[in-house]
């Protein structure tokens, strides 16, 4: 009987998933403005915005936060646990205006409630979560007010100095001002395929990234220069991935940029970072060419115990898969992994996710062009395009199954941010995407994923409360899978902080091992599958 069940699971795992957009039924009907639809005059209209899954009220169900461009407000939707979400923006004090770009989550004050940081072209906002009842804008109080208008993009909380207090990294795209930015067609960098389009990023002034140290008293200090982060100039930074890249127990920071080399800041353990992207193999594509990096995702796609990196890029470029070969060195394996065939999309939000609970993480990427004018060309690059879903074959390769993955993957949007979470705790992950000038998409499979699963919620005590930076290894069915709790990521977005593991035919995990940011280790044995498990770090 057991053998039969295993066979059934394997067979089911091979049939394509059927993703449907349930946003409307779920109550996500508000549209989120983000610049022009037919034409975009300025680059600011092209880059927004992110989304987040965050359980702000600790009820065990991820809520939804969607960012808006100018002319709308960011919105928080409470998960009503019945397939519907209620807009609670106003009651939580989150009504906003301006060009919101990115979002990242973390309990920066260790009070047990997840806080939010929202980046803007303009003034960033740190929202302190007041017991899940309300958010307070504490930006000024926390010392995060900026001395000038900045084009802030991706962000991530991370505890880079291991003091239990979450620090904050903020990527910056470029210097932008409506008054001084050249008009479409006014220099050679304001053309695309012969059409005059909005200018940039090339030709616009660079801006440097920011690192804020959390002083532990509710305030932050700008340590961008002191830490070495500001040394790296000449990058149009967008997405951020904060994780331990070289497996030394300290979080590093990887940032992809538009039309410029990516940067990898390796944490030296003394409050400073060194930029090492080129030699570590994650600055360029295999030709040593600077691409337009948009989004980032990380997973151990090949099961070798190391976290690899996927970056989404522009049309006529390849999105890249960098395989971690150990010690934080990477090889571009895009071709060998079968990810080189789609080059017509401008890729944005992306995530590794085990949508079949097979134990192998697939990959989802949302798309949409920065120049709506491209539709006038009647070519196979479109302003709005469908998303891409790749199945992980478990043999180091991926196959594009977008065409058979349900109507959600046929719908065309100009999407940007993407995040994943299990909104109903049934073990099957959902996908949320921010579509420019449309309501967001919320994709759910019409039938549960076939394999078994575990959802892990980690609570730090000696480490930061959100356990950001905790490395987890789950052993089940003869395999060990790893992952890390991350703030930020994807394209200017935030996945659920809980970690999801598909277990395939295994009905239990033999062990779950957690390496906490504090250095402490927790091992839990024999955990039944099919449930949400909370693991709390042992106190002092």
């Amino acid at each position: 009987m057991k053998a039969f069940a295993a066979l059934f699971l394997l067979a089911a795992a091979q049939s394509a998933p059927d993703f449907r957009d349930i946003a409307k039924e779920a109550g996500l009907t508000a549209s989120f403005p983000n610049g022009g639809e037919k034409t975009k005059e300025y680059i600011i209209e092209t880059t927004g915005s992110g989304v987040a899954f965050i359980d702000y009220d600790n009820d065990g169900y991820p809520d939804i936060f969607v960012l808006s461009g100018d002319g709308g407000t960011n919105r928080m939707y409470h998960n009503d646990r019945n397939g519907r979400f209620t807009d609670v923006t106003a009651s939580l004090g989150l009504t906003s205006s301006g060009w919101a770009e990115g979002v990242c989550a973390g309990d920066y004050d260790n009070d047990g409630y997840t806080d939010l940081f929202v980046t803007y072209w303009g003034r960033n906002r740190l929202y302190r979560n007041l017991g899940g009842q309300r958010f307070e804008d504490v930006t000024a109080k926390a010392g995060l007010t900026q001395d000038r208008v900045r084009y802030n993009t991706g962000c991530a909380f991370l505890d880079y100095d291991g003091d239990r207090h979450l620090d904050l990294f903020v990527a910056n795209y470029l210097k932008f001002d409506f008054a001084t930015t050249p008009k479409a067609g006014s220099n050679p960098y304001c053309f695309y395929r012969g059409m005059a389009v909005n200018c940039g990023p090339r030709g616009l002034p660079f801006e440097t990234n920011l690192l804020y140290h959390n002083k532990g008293d509710g305030t932050f200090e700008d340590v961008s220069v002191k830490s070495g982060i500001a040394k790296a100039n000449g990058h149009y930074s967008l997405a951020v991935l904060a994780q331990d890249v070289n497996d030394d127990g300290r979080p590093d920071i990887y940032v992809v940029g538009d039309q410029t080399a990516a940067t990898l800041f390796i944490n030296q353990g003394d409050g400073t970072f060194t930029e090492e992207a080129v030699m570590r193999g994650v600055a360029f594509d295999e030709n040593g060419r600077e691409l337009s990096g948009m989004g980032l995702a990380s997973a151990d796609y090949d099961g070798d115990g190391r976290l690899d990196i996927f970056r989404s890029d522009f049309s006529d470029e390849r999105s890249l898969l960098y395989r971690n070969t150990g010690d934080g060195q990477f090889d571009d394996v895009t071709m060998a992994a079968g990810l080189a065939r789609n080059t017509r999309f401008v890729n944005w939000g992306c995530a590794f996710l085990d949508f079949e609970n097979s134990g192998w993480k697939g990959l989802v990427v949302v798309n949409g062009h920065v120049f709506p004018e491209v539709d006038r060309q009647n070519i196979d690059i479109h302003s709005r395009d469908h998303a891409t879903l790749y199945r992980n074959t478990g043999k180091g390769t991926f196959e594009d199954i977008s065409g058979e993955a349900g109507p959600a993957f046929a719908a065309r949007h100009s999407a940007r941010g993407l995040a994943t979470a299990d909104i109903d705790n049934d073990g099957t992950l959902e996908i949320l995407a921010n579509n420019q000038n449309e309501p967001p998409s919320l994709w759910k499979q019409s039938r549960p994923a076939a394999g078994h699963w575990l959802l892990l919620r980690l609570v730090g005590t000696r480490s930061n409360r959100s356990a950001i930076g905790a490395r987890v290894a789950v052993t089940a069915g003869g395999r060990t899978q790893i992952d890390e709790v991350r703030s930020g990521g994807s394209y200017l977005s935030q996945n659920d902080l809980r970690l999801h593991f598909g277990l395939g035919a295994a009905t239990r995990a033999d062990s779950i091992s957690v390496r906490w940011p504090s250095g402490a280790k927790t091992v839990v044995k024999d955990v039944d599958a099919g449930r949400v498990v909370t693991i709390t770090e042992k106190g002092v």
Partner: protein, 362 residues
């Protein structure tokens, strides 16, 4: 000569005067500042500078009658005649001044006008060597380069017109049409013309290769890869020694995640053409991925030897050194790469720098 031809000739002469006047005025003014014009030569040059070409011709003819050895008068008379469409009267003097004038400025002006006259007279074959001489004598001169581009464009247009008129049914007409479409980024139209050419001459070399390439450039769809592969294979069936077709097939296999097949074709391309840098780079890169550094590194070193400015080759060599533990060599390659990646200095770079320095209002 029909009305259209007469019209176009008239336009050519009118443009000739505009060209001479517009392009050369700055240098003319620099060489012959407008002074009080006492002699007929000075008055003639002044009239020329002010665009009164007929008056200039008359004054300069007077000057030459008075002194047949007056070189500026002879040169400007020829220029004035050219500007008024009297190239027939001007060509001999322009040719003489272009070859013999000791004043490089006057020689340059004469050469430019001479080439223009030949274009206007539809004697492109005579204009071509003048343009070549001008380029050799005045390298980096924008007026000279512009004229040279015009002459070559005219030569191309003339040859194309002759071909379309005398052999309209030839597959070469379709091939050339396709190549023109390619330069205009109209790859679907190019592919259609290549198909017509293949239909007319199924055994012609290079058509399938070019069709395959147009298909790849036309579409981003994964299906296009298979279609293009068919064409490259058809090219190989006609010409088994086509290293470029072998290479393209290798690229397609690589993009489709079939590394073993890709490597086989890359190797074949390299066997067929041992100095094919792209093929050597592709084999080298794949051997790096397979950790076969002893084979990969010499290949990549050979590519950077052949093409010292080949950025992909330097990057691949850097990765090969890194992965094989030769960190010092890897760092050296990184430095070379950084140097190569620096944007070139030039007019446009300066323009962008200025733009970059102008920080937006904060």
């Amino acid at each position: 000569m029909n009305a259209d031809e007469r019209g176009s000739k008239r336009v050519a002469y009118l443009r000739l005067s505009a060209f001479i006047c517009g392009s050369f005025l700055a240098s003319l003014l620099a060489a012959f500042p407008l002074l009080a014009a006492d002699s007929p030569t000075e008055q003639g040059v002044a009239a020329f500078q002010q665009g009164r070409y007929l008056e200039a011709s008359r004054l300069l003819e007077d000057a030459l009658r008075a002194d047949p050895r007056d070189e500026p008068a002879r040169t400007f008379l020829a220029l004035a005649r050219a500007a008024t469409g009297h190239c027939g009267d001007a060509v001999a003097d322009l040719a003489d001044r272009f070859q013999k004038s000791p004043d490089p400025l006057l020689a340059r002006l004469a050469g430019l006008a001479l080439a223009q006259c030949f274009i206007a007279q539809e004697q492109t074959a005579k204009a071509l060597p003048i343009a070549a001489q001008l380029e050799a004598r005045y390298p980096g001169d924008a007026d000279v380069l512009y004229l040279s581009a015009r002459v070559h464009m005219r030569a191309f247009n003339d040859a194309t017109r002759r071909m379309f008129a005398s052999t309209p049914a030839s597959y070469r007409v379709n091939q050339l049409s396709a190549e023109i479409f390619e330069t205009q980024n109209k790859f679907a139209e190019a592919a259609a013309e290549y198909r017509k050419a293949i239909e007319k001459n199924p055994r012609a070399i290079d058509l399938h290769f070019r069709l395959g390439r147009a298909i790849l450039l036309e579409s981003h769809s994964p299906e296009a890869l298979a279609k293009a592969q068919t064409e490259f294979e058809a090219e190989l069936a006609l010409n088994a020694g086509d290293a470029a077709a072998e290479f393209q097939i290798g690229q397609i296999h690589n993009a489709c995640g079939r590394p073993d097949e890709a490597l086989r074709h890359f190797r074949k391309a390299l066997d067929l053409s041992p100095d094919f840098p792209e093929a050597a780079l592709a084999v080298g890169r794949m051997r790096v991925q397979a950790k076969q550094y002893a084979e990969a590194i010499p290949l990549l070193e050979r590519v950077v030897g052949m093409q010292p400015a080949n950025e992909p080759a330097h990057y691949s060599l850097m990765m090969a050194y890194r992965n094989s533990g030769q960190l010092e060599k890897a760092r050296r390659e990184q430095q070379v790469l950084e140097k190569l990646q620096r944007p070139p200095e030039g007019e446009f770079t300066d323009f962008l720098k200025r733009l970059g320095e102008k920080a937006p209002t904060q």
